[in-house]
């Protein structure tokens, strides 16, 4: 079920009513929550439930034994088992065909014909998210950060909690698991805040992301014929579409969780209002970047703490992995590498004083701050061409066409149709950037709040796109 589907709305309303009726019995409420989560996930395909159960039971069991055994080597072996199962599932369903195709192509360049064929594999929704969530549980137990839970019901809920199951935020056991052990209390302010997030998230997805998606799709499908400016502008539209889609989903997930008495981590924090790409990664898909930082980058960087070169290499490796996590295609790898390389100025600034002074200056000067913010966004949008393109060849041709197409300006219809929406959206987000979330309007006058609710609701009803458009990150 997609969040922006009528069947989900009906499901959630009924679920919400029954859920709070069971608040006096924690176990029953948790059972109901688990059943609801499995119904939600099984709606895509009942077979997917088997995978999530395998992942859940594996890590619950391994987590228990990692804590129980005393020898370090045994702990390591158990952890390796968890990694094998979770990453094995992920690799098989997501990367097997890509790996086979790449292998066959690589051997073909040496005129060797490998007789290996790909398989008909359906990528289970959310596998990239819940496998990382369960992995973090095992790793944190191994590191001694948390103790394993003995409550399998709570653990199964931790893995399959439906608001965040299919596209995050990727939660950590330390902060999320305890919330299943204690009774949830309905708090009016928390519920209202949850509704605000739900509404704003739906607005971003249905009104902004899906509207931009239609235009972006047309341009990318016909890019050889499009003028240079239109191509570049489409990359900006796509960046905004991606942000509105993914942050919209995250807001809805966090909002729903709040309505059920849970607190999920913030996943987006106005990532475009920064002067450099490294900073924007601190604000974009925060749950994922911190996961990679804690479980990949820090162990990698520790292999050679003193070497700046190794730090740069580790950063590029990290972002290559982040790129390829998004999808089984070299375009995502290129996307990751490009972002990794953007960290070089930050990593080397202390070794190059003039660079350091320059970066400090542009950050502290108001005018250069805004100019740099704008340029940073423009550059980020350009790199995102990799993300959107179907193949690495298409991406390079597209990028080349931005600068070399005979016609640069051409027909500005796409620009005129969308610029007001983008400017208004960014202006609102900029104005609200210091709040806990961008629709945190509790401090507004009550009449203004109500007006905003009505405006957003009717914007969704009147201008929303109600076609067949799943959330973009569901494909990962």
């Amino acid at each position: 079920m997609l969040f922006n589907s009528v069947e989900f709305v009906i499901f959630f309303i009924l679920f919400f009513v029954v859920y709070w009726k069971l608040k006096s019995n924690l176990t029953l409420q948790n059972v109901f929550l688990l059943v609801g989560s499995y119904i939600f996930y099984g709606w895509w395909d009942v077979k997917f439930l088997l995978l999530i159960l395998i992942s859940s039971v594996t890590d619950f069991t391994i987590g228990y034994y990692i804590d129980k055994v005393s020898k370090k080597t045994h702990k390591k072996l158990l952890l390796a088992g968890s990694l094998l199962v979770n990453l094995g599932l992920l690799f098989f369903f997501k990367y097997y065909n890509f790996f086979i195709d790449s292998l066959v192509d690589a051997f073909a360049t040496f005129n060797i014909n490998l007789n290996v064929s790909t398989l008909q594999i359906i990528l289970p929704v959310g596998i990239s998210f819940y496998t990382f969530q369960t992995l973090s549980y095992s790793i944190d137990i191994y590191r001694g950060i948390i103790k394993p839970t003995k409550n399998i019901l709570s653990f199964l809920n931790f893995v399959s909690f439906f608001p965040q199951l299919v596209a995050g935020p990727i939660e950590r056991a330390k902060t999320f698991l305890p919330q299943f052990h204690k009774p949830r209390v309905f708090k009016y302010e928390q519920a209202v805040d949850g509704m605000r997030l739900l509404l704003y998230g739906a607005f971003k997805k249905i009104v902004i992301a899906d509207y931009l998606a239609q235009r972006v799709d047309i341009i990318y499908a016909t890019y050889p014929e499009q003028p240079g400016f239109t191509l570049y502008y489409a990359s900006i539209l796509f960046t905004v579409q991606l942000y509105a889609d993914f942050s919209g989903y995250s807001d809805m997930a966090i909002g729903m969780a709040r309505l059920l008495g849970f607190n999920l981590m913030t996943n987006f924090k106005t990532p475009f209002f920064t002067t450099n790409i490294p900073d924007s990664w601190n604000r974009w898909h925060i749950s994922c970047t911190t996961w990679f930082r804690d479980y990949i980058f820090i162990p990698l960087a520790r292999l050679n703490k003193q070497s700046l070169l190794w730090r740069i290499v580790a950063t590029v490796i990290l972002f290559s992995i982040i790129g390829i996590w998004h999808g089984a295609n070299f375009t995502f790898l290129a996307f990751g590498v490009a972002h990794g390389l953007c960290f070089i100025p930050r990593l080397t600034r202390k070794k190059i004083p003039p660079l350091n002074r320059f970066l400090l200056y542009i950050n502290n000067n108001r005018v250069t701050y805004f100019i740099t913010m704008f340029l940073s966004f423009c550059f980020l949008s350009f790199i995102t061409i990799f993300f959107r393109s179907v193949s690495i060849t298409d991406a390079f041709i597209y990028m080349n066409n931005v600068f070399t197409n005979e016609v640069f300006w051409g027909d500005l219809t796409f620009f005129k149709e969308t610029i007001a929406l983008i400017v208004a959206f960014f202006a609102f987000e900029y104005f609200m950037q210091d709040k806990s979330h961008q629709f945190e309007i509790s401090s507004f006058h009550p009449a203004l709040r109500k007006l905003l609710y009505i405006l957003v609701i009717f914007s969704i009803l009147l201008f929303g796109n109600f076609g067949k458009t799943p959330f973009y990150y569901f494909q990962f």
């Binding site: 589907s5 009528v6 069947e7 709070w20 309905f186 009016y188 519920a191 209202v192 509704m195 609710y453 009505i454 609701i457 009717f458 009803l461 009147l462 201008f463 929303g464 109600f466 076609g467 067949k468």
Partner: protein, 387 residues
């Protein structure tokens, strides 16, 4: 919890009010009646009944296929939109077992599928088929090749909640005033206004007819522009695909093997379009390659109403719905004139009553329409105003 529930319910009530009003509006236009129900009710209706959606997807191919399966007619009209003016009364006294399935078949694959299904018994085997052919079905890179086949199981938008939300939006933001006439039975925004597909499957082009009644204007539509800019149906390459021609000839053999009588129909174009088109060298060559197919059919003694311009029939462009679609009167005239000399070739039409058809043609006042249509009132009003 109570406070939260009460306040949320207020907003939910507002949304429900909007949705209820929207659904009632869609229902008034009969847009949200499921297609299967439309087919059932149109089939059972004793009075004329129109179908034409403008908010939800029309699914014309599926609609025609369902009606064909229900009616099991002995006379079937197939082809693209050029055949949609073949009316049941042209075939009196065989009109009760007639159906115009125009627009069910959109490409050569569909044409082949149609006869495969007849052979398999899934479509009632007719005694006579009138097959309309035009250049597009033989063209390279025909965009209609990508359409799903007519027997594809559709997901009717009238049964999809998201489509209703979209439909209500469209109604509010784009639809404009719809006049509901109590005496018209119809489904869909155009249907309730007396336009669209009739019970016999032919189409009532009310917009073009009204334009003619009110302003004496013949509308060419955008075909000349499409030809000039090489848009569909004249997109590049503007060439006939010989593999499709060969495929077509094989289908003709199959029709013969199935013992179905066949009348091929090549629709006229307007004089205006013809004159513009033939100044375009590429189109001229393309058209001549298409006409070779007609010549092959004539040489091989197929029954065929060949291409002609309105002037060659003693008529003018007012008889054309637009550049490439004939009106119901010109279609009737072509059919009548052809049958006057060739009726004897058709075992299934031995008792064809051409006298009644010629009488109707004589009584026609407006080139685009017969007086029996529901436009009688509009024409009477027009006459009153003119006096």
């Amino acid at each position: 919890m109570n406070k939260f529930t009460k306040r949320t319910l207020i907003y939910i009530a507002i949304v429900l009010l909007y949705l209820t009003w929207g659904e009632v509006s869609l229902y008034k236009m009969r847009e949200n009646i499921p297609l299967k129900k439309v087919v059932e009710q149109q089939f059972e209706s004793e009075n004329e009944c129109y179908y034409s959606r403008r908010i939800f997807e029309e699914y014309v191919s599926s609609y025609k296929f369902e009606m064909l399966k229900k009616k099991k007619p002995d006379i079937q009209i197939i082809g693209q939109s050029i055949v949609l003016q073949f009316r049941d009364f042209l075939f009196k006294p065989y009109d009760k077992s007639f159906y115009n399935a125009g627009l069910m078949i959109r490409n050569m694959r569909d044409l082949e599928l149609y006869f495969d299904l007849i052979e398999a018994g899934e479509i009632h085997k007719p005694k006579l088929i009138v097959l309309g052919i035009e250049h597009l079905i033989f063209k390279h890179n025909n965009k209609l090749n990508r359409r799903k086949p007519f027997n594809y199981e559709i997901e009717d938008e009238a049964l999809k909640p998201k489509a209703h939300l979209r439909g209500i939006q469209q109604f509010l933001l784009k639809t404009g005033n719809v006049r509901y006439k109590g005496d018209i039975i119809g489904f869909g925004k155009q249907g309730v206004q007396g336009a669209g597909f009739r019970k016999d499957g032919s189409i009532h082009n009310k917009t073009e007819v009204m334009a003619f009644i009110n302003d004496s204007v013949h509308l060419e539509s955008d075909y000349a522009e499409a030809l000039k800019k090489r848009y569909h149906p004249f997109n590049n390459p503007l060439t006939i695909d010989q593999t499709k021609v060969e495929q077509f000839y094989k289908i003709l053999d199959k029709i013969n093997d199935l013992n179905i009588e066949l009348l091929v129909y090549v629709a006229p174009t307007s004089e205006e379009f013809y004159n513009i088109g033939f100044k375009d060298e590429e189109f001229y060559n393309y058209w001549n390659d298409f006409i070779k197919i007609q010549e092959y059919l004539i040489e091989n003694n197929y029954n065929i109403i060949p291409f002609s311009k309105p002037s060659q029939l003693g008529l003018n462009d007012y008889y054309m719905v637009d550049a490439v679609h004939p009106g119901s009167v010109v279609t009737a005239i072509q059919f009548s004139e052809y049958m006057a000399n060739n009726k004897h070739k058709f075992k299934s039409l031995q008792n064809l009553d051409l006298n009644q058809l010629n009488e109707r043609i004589k009584k026609n006042t407006f080139p685009l329409t017969f007086l029996q249509d529901t436009l009688i009132q509009e024409i009477k009003d027009f006459r009153k105003k003119a006096k």
